[in-house]
Amino acid sequence: MNLLRKREISVYLLFITSMVFIVQYYLPGFDPLDSLISLLGNWAVVFSAMAMGLGLLNLATNSVRKIQKRSKEWYFDAWLLFIMLLVLVLGGIGGAKDERYLWIFNNVYQQLSPTFFGFAYLYMCSVAVLTFRVANWETALLMLGGVLVMIGNIPFIQVYTGAFVSLKDWIFAIPSRGVFTAFRISMALGFVLIGIRTLLGIERGYMGAEES
């Protein structure tokens, strides 16, 4: 079997690299280790930047394939390809401060990006209608808390009624904060556990199924 494909090599590399980071965290100030951490960190960032090229290739390949096959709405893929290459060329030639590049960034990307993010609230509204129903006492309590917090958050109502604001602040400060703190602690513990499993090479699911 190809030596590089041996899963054990990946596991050993992972263990050694992780131990370097863990030792450096608990014993800072040891210069050679700090330099090594810095170097590894920079390598990780470089890998990530190289991966963007891979993403570009994947997008371009898919778009070209759809254009060649004249798939449904193939012209949108042609437009995607054109814009992608245009921005790449403008940015590559003129740099991040190129006027034309900045025009596209400021007037196209900066407008479209938050617009798509705004869909989240639109979909939340349509989901809320169907989901927030008083089916039993638990959902009634949930809805009551939610509605009280929403009313307390309405800016102009806060001016006229201190009661809703106090109630909202109490809900945020006591039950909600307690729950979110518990979630955070639980999640942090989960990260530590998955880290231990991965570090020790016990968790190998991310490497895929083992060939028998």
Binding site: Y25, L27, P28, G41, V45, F47, S48, A51, M52, G53, L54, G55, L56, N58, L59, N62, R65, K72, E73, S113, P114, T115, F116, F117, F119, A120, Y121, L122, Y123, M124, S126, V127, L130, T131, F132, F180, F183, R184, I185, S186, M187, L189, G190, F191, V192, L193, I194, I196, R197, T198, I202, E203, G205, Y206, M207, G208, A209, E210, E211, S212
Partner: protein
């Protein structure tokens, strides 16, 4: 030493892990864990897609491999691996939406291995491993397009996301798609529960990897976490009681 308290807690977790490992592996005593509805649903989701002759669409999320959220990304890969295994076995079409460019080689390798292990490597359609753009807004646009054009029967959203999780849940409802959300992003939990049919949130998602494997060694790791959680509750209770009598132990916990 930096962060002595954190180190002691980590040591405690390792001690518990040694104990649970010895108990579960050597003495073959594995505690019963509740079943995770989201994991049980994986089979149903792939089965439904097979019966309807429509694809499964799995979006593996954003998130870098060198940030503190790498646990979420790893868990997403493990769930994807399981989904790819099932799709390969049931000969179901699988569309994968890859959020971050650096995940592309990993997802491709996982898909290849899943289909190879199932004995049908030729069934993997590389054209369905699609890079979605790398940012939240690009993901939303691309996923909307895939949901509209490919009409998947089941939709899995696992990994690191932002508020766009609510959008995907709404989309799934609109297209009548069975949906599952797996995330550790605390402020997305309400949307995951409200908008999706199944969910794996918080530690359930991170433990999913161990539960899928059914390996006693991995399950003992989850058990160790539970023991540590009980210990933490006891420490918190002691802290609360001591604070009532005017003694503050937090000074010792922030070394």
């Amino acid at each position: 030493m930096n962060d002595l308290t954190g180190f002691l807690f980590l040591l405690l977790i390792l001690v518990f892990y040694v104990y649970t490992y010895w108990t579960s592996v050597k003495r073959n005593r594995i505690p019963h864990f509740r079943s995770l509805a989201g994991l049980v649903a994986l089979e149903e989701m792939v089965g439904r897609a097979t019966e309807m002759g429509r694809p499964v669409f799995h979006s593996t999320g954003l998130g870098t491999l060198y940030s503190s959220g790498v646990g979420t990304v790893l868990a997403s890969f493990v769930v994807f691996s399981e989904v790819a295994n099932k799709c390969a076995q049931m000969n179901t079409e699988l569309i994968v939406g890859i959020g971050a460019a650096e995940h592309i080689p990993i997802i491709t390798a996982l898909a290849e291995q899943a289909y190879a292990v199932a004995g049908v490597p030729e069934n993997l359609n590389y054209n369905d491993l699609v890079f979605l753009g790398g940012t939240q807004s690009a993901l939303v646009a691309a996923i909307m397009e895939i949901m509209d054009s490919r009409a998947p029967s089941s939709f899995l959203v696992t990994g690191s996301y932002g508020a766009d999780i609510a959008t995907y849940g709404g989309l799934a409802r609109e297209y009548g798609t069975l949906s599952l959300c797996g995330t550790t992003n605390t402020y997305q939990y309400p949307y995951a529960v409200a908008a999706y049919d199944y969910w794996l949130i918080g530690e359930d998602f991170l433990a999913a990897a161990a539960v899928i494997s059914k390996d006693p060694v991995q399950i003992s790791n989850i058990w160790a976490g539970d023991l540590f959680r009980f210990t933490l509750c006891i420490i918190m209770a002691i802290g609360v009681i001591l604070s009532w009598v005017g003694y503050n132990i937090t000074q010792y916990l922030t070394m």
